[in-house]
């Protein structure tokens, strides 16, 4: 890690006490913007508590307007919180201007200085910090190597492709050895193929330099692919924080289940512990802590649901509904089915995603089928 010359000193000190150090700590952070004339103020971020660990790739995920960018901007120093505390490696920075925070930002539009060359752009931070000329030149050259922009040092940003501009933005931030690197949808402007390549590259780069990355995105796939942990936000509130697997498999709220990936949302009524009943009368096994008779919302991922012909042997470890195929959508690597249950009014509708591996049985619209899932893949949502 140290051979890149990009590891921060703070990091080495911090890890010596044995506990995971917090790189960024937000406590009760709230941001209110004054509303238009006469209107109430807009609450962009609402009482967010968050701890981002040293060295992790952390994503803030949510739809536009959820407060993720405002949260990032408060860590960067472009916005000051209305209430709450922002700490970077234990130091309160909530009201410090951006130039006095040990963080750097990669902007959504890159924000490269159009009147400066690649070299001047990358060297800007070192120049402002009055780093010795020779050392600055060496560090600029190193980081330009790191992002593979050798030979383009004296170009202007306009003469570079989108992907190259993106690398300059990255180099311009990394050259300063920030303790935390903030990235505001940095891949948003790239086309799909390049974006996917950059996802991998960014992740590898983060592992190599060992700097904490805080990554803002509205793209759930991007967040799942790259992050060590993800915070899902909506309406200025933090809904759930966890690893990609936990967030995907165990969404806590309906919003998280719906926003991340595709999901079946089923209503159910709680019965004795360990069981529940769907509106169509089907009894299912379900882990819940609700009183019997209370309403539940259950999430099941379409790829966790299997599809069999009705004459197949019954597997008693699985919960099942019999019904008829209503819709078939071919997705290339998978097929999406929608099945309408036989019983109930309205009947239960379930979406099933079946991988198109060789030997998988295919069904057509109108076929009688049995839909089944393991009880463990059904998750009770909080709201």
């Amino acid at each position: 890690m140290t051979d890149t010359g990009l590891t921060t000193g703070q990091r080495a000190d911090a890890s010596s006490d044995g506990t995971a150090t917090s790189a960024v700590t937000l406590q009760g952070v709230t941001k209110r913007f004054p509303g238009a004339k006469g209107a109430d103020p807009v609450v962009a971020v609402d009482g967010v508590d968050l701890e981002i660990r040293d060295g992790e790739f952390f994503s803030l995920l949510g739809p536009s307007g959820c407060g993720k960018t405002t949260t990032l901007r408060m860590i960067a120093g472009f916005e000051y919180p209305t209430a709450g505390s922002v700490q970077i490696f234990g130091e309160e920075v909530g009201l410090e201007p951006p130039n006095r925070r040990p963080v750097n930002t990669v902007f959504q539009s890159y924000a490269l200085f159009p009147h400066m060359t690649v070299e001047e752009n990358v060297g800007f931070g070192l120049q402002m910090k009055k780093v010795d000329r020779d050392e600055a030149a060496r560090r600029v050259a190193d980081v330009i190597d790191l992002v593979q922009l050798q030979g383009r040092e004296s170009r202007k940003p306009k003469q570079l492709s989108g992907g190259q501009q993106q690398r300059v933005a990255l180099a311009r931030a990394l050259v300063n050895h920030p303790k935390v690197l903030l990235l505001d949808e940095p891949l948003g402007a790239l086309d799909l193929k390049l974006r996917q390549a950059m996802q991998v590259e960014l992740k590898q780069l983060q592992e190599r330099v060992g700097i904490t990355f805080v990554y803002v995105t509205h793209d759930q796939e991007e967040a799942l692919t790259m992050s060590d942990r993800i915070a899902v936000m909506d309406g200025g509130k933090l809904l759930q924080v966890g690893g990609p697997g936990a967030i995907y498999d165990r969404p806590r709220t309906r919003f998280v289940a719906d926003f991340i990936g595709d999901t079946n949302l089923l209503r159910a009524t709680a019965e004795d512990p360990g069981s529940a009943r769907l509106p169509d009368g089907t009894a299912i096994r379900l882990e819940h802590h609700a009183a019997p008779g209370s309403d539940l919302m259950v999430a099941i991922r379409p790829e966790h649901v299997g599809l069999r012909a009705t004459d197949a042997d019954r597997d008693l470890t699985l919960d099942a509904i019999d019904g008829e195929v209503a819709l078939v959508t071919f997705l290339g690597n998978a097929t999406l089915y929608e099945v309408v249950g036989d019983r109930g009014d309205p009947p239960t509708r379930v979406r099933i995603r079946q991988g198109n591996a060789p030997g998988v049985q295919h069904f057509g619209v109108g076929d009688r089928v049995r839909v089944r899932w393991a009880p463990s893949s059904a998750t009770v949502l909080e709201d």
Partner: protein, 308 residues
């Protein structure tokens, strides 16, 4: 079957078909396009030729003519005498005064306008609209009338002079001094500086300033390293729009200036409508100023354009 296939028989009549219609058509289309463009531009061309190019040509011709003893212009006996007189001490004096008054006017306008334009560009759209209208309101009334208003404001019993006297400058005089001329010029041309500055500052991507701040620049450093160089086109445009009319100003120095503040505009006018009555000399002065301005403006534009 799979061996060589003989080349297909070619009908001699079809072997040499008419040249493809492409290039010919294209040329015709281009021609039609340019003809249409010409028709659209015709009124402007006609206007400019009739009321700008021709009069200018007359001025150029007159500058080589002779002034008769009675002040008439004799078209004939072409000579360069008028141009020779451009280096007279009096002319150089007036030119030098015009230059520094125009330069100072431009600098004062820039210093006053830049912060205001910045403020304007960073207001919410609604407030911005109101402020922009306020900037332009002076245009709705006549410059002559407004300049006469300044004559009262700057007169010896006006508020400004009274204030200066009150704070200890007992023999303060503003009206009929170069200072009064400059105040009038700054007042008159300030919007010409504010508007182009506003336009460039408003277009500036604010995230560039944030990026500079993020990279450890203080507010001032961010301004000098990023905002200022990127708004230079507005500075140049505004400066030219203020400098050129200030340099040749006529109305303001006539009304607010005195004996010691004659500027080139007034001096030229005197050659045509005043006692001097020397049309060839007035023409020579005008032509020379025009050429100097064109050269200066071109150089200025070039120097600004290079870094963008």
């Amino acid at each position: 079957m799979s061996t060589t296939v003989p080349p297909p028989e070619v009908d001699p009549d079809l072997a040499d078909p008419a040249p493809p219609p492409g290039p010919g058509l294209e040329r015709a289309a281009e021609k039609a396009e340019s003809r249409r463009g010409f028709l659209v531009g015709l009124p402007s061309y006609a206007y400019l030729i009739l009321f700008f190019a021709l009069p200018l040509l007359i001025v150029v011709i007159y500058s080589f003519a002779t002034r008769s003893i009675r002040g008439r212009t004799v078209l004939g006996g072409w000579n360069l005498d008028s141009y020779g007189r451009l280096l007279d001490d009096l002319v150089l004096d007036i030119a030098w005064r015009s230059l520094w008054i125009a330069v100072l006017t431009t600098v004062v306008c820039l210093v006053v306008s830049y912060p205001f334009a910045y403020y304007l560009a960073t207001r919410p759209a609604r407030i911005r609209g109101v402020l922009l209208v306020l900037v332009m309101i002076p245009f709705w009334s006549n410059l002559l009338v407004r300049t006469y208003a300044w004559r009262f404001l700057l007169s010896s019993d006006g508020p400004f002079t009274s204030f200066l006297v009150a704070i200890g400058f007992e023999d303060a005089q503003l009206l009929f001094t170069p200072t009064a001329v400059m105040i009038g010029l700054v007042y008159g041309y300030l919007p010409f500086m504010i508007l182009p500055l506003y336009a460039t500052i408003e277009r500036l991507d604010h995230s560039l300033v944030e990026a500079a701040r993020d990279l450890y620049a203080t507010g001032w450093q961010a301004f000098w390293k990023v905002t200022w160089p990127l708004t230079r086109p507005g500075v140049i445009a505004g400066s030219i729009l203020v400098f050129i009319p200030s340099f040749g100003a006529y109305v303001t120095p006539e009304i607010l200036g005195g004996r010691g503040s004659t500027m080139l505009g007034s001096y030229i006018a005197r050659q045509f409508i005043g006692t001097a009555s020397d049309w060839p000399f007035g023409s020579a002065l005008s032509v020379t100023i025009l050429l100097v301005m064109m050269v200066a403006a071109t150089a200025y534009f070039r120097s600004g354009g290079k870094n963008l």
